[in-house]
């Protein structure tokens, strides 16, 4: 059992759930206090001691079922199937009743009936007990040392021998014989014999199944399969409708978290001059001796933000989540102006004022009635347009945020527009969904723009995005 829990802990770790050694020790201590017969309690006990983040609970549940329950369920299935496969009209409950009655009718007390644990478990279909017996026998047979397919039969046989499955079968057949002698009808006794054979077969199958699982677990790929493809690290390029929805919630939570951290960090930054008035008042209790120093709080200027979003299909998702992020963090900025472009550039600030944030984003991605999205990207043209019409709105408190892959379709990059922008603005931040190694290759003009940005980052998944946002709002 211990071995199994340690293994399960490793599985959790590999799937990205952080479990420390102290926590797995806690799990063992918890299990000491509980009876393990109840699967649900077992599950809860492991969870509460090892999984401390609510985001990880879903992963845990999934892994738990795979690791602990899948075998159990298979076991249960194969036994149910065995009973279902019986020929003719057969009612398991009736059979059980008949056996009970038969046992009572038998000469001598039932205690004399010498059945092994396995036989008893088989007869009463006690799955928990059976599972436990199989695990113990497999351990005794050294099944965890299995290395390849060819050993499957060997270890299955050895496990069966460890359990003395044959002996249990003989005992059960003897029992059927005794029942027949003490007055069970022939038909029923025959049915019982058949059932016993079916159960033994089911047991053999389950043991083989168990051995196979052991083999799979040796395989690293098998473990890898459990690795959660976390939404945080999923690339924006291929998202399904459903994932976009889920992602939206994640963004909301991330934004909330950033806001909270921000309030703490800001408070520290804001410390200003000594506040004499308040200090005297507060320190009256100390007889006027200034024990506690009180400082005035300095107001920090919140930045203005101008967002330029490429909404061509290749970067639409990055733009989507970036805009959601920025508008969720609205109160961190004095003003946000949002522009979208493919080739033409249009302002969508008003769309965000009129509409609910999610609707507004969808509308903005669709061009917001101001631009035509069905053209080919032309960054140079868009920047030039911005330079002509909106450069005056940029001042030294403004952060300009540009989202795009800088794939310019071999048009003129007009980097001088960005240079002028860079000279006026506080910061120019460029987020590119492509990795830096691809910048400047093919029709990418990222290398031309790079000198005029303060920060240029790859931004392909939520994790990177939230890191950028975190830096931005500080």
């Amino acid at each position: 059992m211990q071995q199994k829990i340690v293994e399960f802990t490793n599985l959790l770790r590999k799937s990205g759930v952080r479990v420390s050694v102290a926590e797995s020790i806690d799990a063992f201590m918890a299990l000491d206090e509980l009876s393990l017969s109840d699967r649900e309690i077992f599950k809860d006990a492991l969870r509460t001691t090892m999984v401390k983040r609510s985001e990880d609970i879903a992963t845990y549940d999934q892994l738990f079922d795979l690791y602990w329950s899948a075998f159990y369920d298979g076991l249960k299935n194969s036994f149910e199937q065995a009973a279902g496969d019986m020929e003719g009209e057969f009612d398991l409950e009736q059979m059980m009743k008949a056996i009970q009655e038969g046992l009572q009718n038998m000469e001598g007390d039932p205690g004399e009936l010498d059945l092994s644990e396995l036989a008893k478990a088989l007869l009463s279909q006690d799955m928990d007990k059976l599972e436990q017996l199989i695990r113990e026998a497999a351990e005794a047979a050294g099944t965890e040392r299995i290395e390849n397919m060819l050993q499957l039969g060997f270890f299955t046989r050895r496990t069966m021998e460890q359990m003395d499955a044959e002996g249990a079968g003989d005992q059960l057949r003897d029992l059927a014989q005794q029942l027949r002698e003490s007055g069970m009808s022939d038909a029923q006794a025959d049915a019982l014999l058949e059932l016993i054979d079916k159960f033994l077969e089911a047991l053999r199958k389950s043991v083989r199944n168990y051995t196979e699982r052991e083999l799979q677990q040796q395989n690293f790929d098998y473990m890898e399969k459990f690795r959660r493809e976390s939404l945080l690290e999923k690339s924006f390029y291929n998202l399904t409708e459903d994932e976009i929805k889920k992602m939206r919630e994640v963004v909301v939570r991330l934004a909330q978290r950033i806001k909270n951290v921000l309030s703490i960090r800001k408070r520290r930054l804001k410390r200003g001059k000594l506040d004499l008035h308040t200090m005297l008042r507060r320190n009256m209790a100390h007889g006027g001796v200034p024990f506690d120093l009180i400082f005035k709080q300095r107001r920090k200027e919140r930045p203005k933000l101008v967002i330029l979003c490429d909404v061509s299909s290749s970067v639409a998702n990055v733009s989507r989540f970036m805009m959601q992020f920025m508008y969720s963090l609205q109160e961190c900025f004095t003003k946000i102006r949002a522009f979208v472009f493919v080739s033409e550039l249009g302002e969508v600030t008003q769309v965000f004022k009129d509409k609910d944030i999610n609707d507004a984003i969808e509308k903005a991605l669709d061009g917001g009635d101001v631009i035509n999205v069905y053209t080919r990207s032309n960054f140079g043209f868009a920047f030039h347009h911005f330079w002509q019409n909106f450069l005056s709105s940029v001042d030294n408190k403004t952060t300009v945020l540009i989202l795009g892959d800088a794939r310019n379709n071999y048009n003129d990059p007009r980097a001088w527009c960005l240079r002028d922008l860079h000279n006026k603005a506080k910061d120019v931040v460029w987020l590119n969904p492509e990795s830096p190694s691809a910048w400047g290759f093919g029709d990418s003009v990222m290398d031309k723009y790079l000198p005029y940005t303060d920060v240029a980052e790859e931004c392909r998944n939520l994790k990177q995005l939230s890191r950028v946002v975190d830096r931005l709002v500080l």
Binding site: L34, R47, S54, N260, V261, G287, D356
Partner: protein
Amino acid sequence: MFESPEAVIEQLDQQGYICDKNIATVVFLAMKLEKPILVEGPAGVGKTELAKVVSAASGRPMIRLQCYEGLDEAKALYEWEYSKQLLYTQILKEKFAEAMAGTTTVAGAADRVGQEDSVFFSERFIVPRPLLRAIQADDPSLLLIDEVDKSDPEFEAFLLEVLSDFQVTVPEIGTLDARHKPIVFLTSNDAREMSDALKRRCLHLYIDFPNEELEVRILDKKVDGIEQRLAEELVGVMQRLRKLDLKKTPSISETLDWARALLALNAQDLDEALVRDTLNVILKYEGDIKKAQSELGRLITRKAEEGQAEGGAPAKAEEKPAAGTPAKKGVLH
């Protein structure tokens, strides 16, 4: 104390708190392993309530520490009672003069005063705050650290000492050990992720919104005189409401408020007009209310369909006249 998770369920039930096996197992383990519990979950699902009922069920008095931004040691742990020290000094002035009699040098006098140091820095002049109170309590107690996510990271760091060893270090006096290890509940709305160090020392419990069956049982227990049928309808609407994309998802406490409001209005069934008029009991944002109102038809029709499927036409026929009775209209408008 509790013997098994089942006993926890039963005893909490006696206190009027209905919980599932998961909660019971965690509470049971916390008692056995003497570990703090970190309770997380959306607002209003009964996190604080859990601590209260465990306190009542185990007969341990509850000591509560409400966290907020800027909470510091002086508010949470202990504070030197400066004015009292000052007052004592004034009153005992003569005694000091006596103690210092015979010394001729300033250094000698300072030494004498130094010998009396411990008088002023003793437990007499400490104002114990919740954490210290829980540790020094004569009887075993239960410490509730509420909304720990609202506190600063620094505060969290110093909670660690208290939570792992149940001891507090006061520089002037020394280390104060717990007479009895208190049971500790920390609640968090997950506004901020707690540090791994803190989480490692705690058992973790996540309370989510209850499922339909559990919520009906809670309603039954908490609201006197509610009819089974109304409870089920109400919970049905609540469960569907939670699936909507709302700014603030209503939780159990809102369900209870709503049930009480409906009882006060003498309502027998839910109908569209009634739900529309009482939505502001469960939803706290204008936008949410609007959204729910536009979805209202869907919530109600689905309920009617269910009614048809279960009880056939009569159930629906019953509902309609009830909605139109003048008595109810009078109450509502």
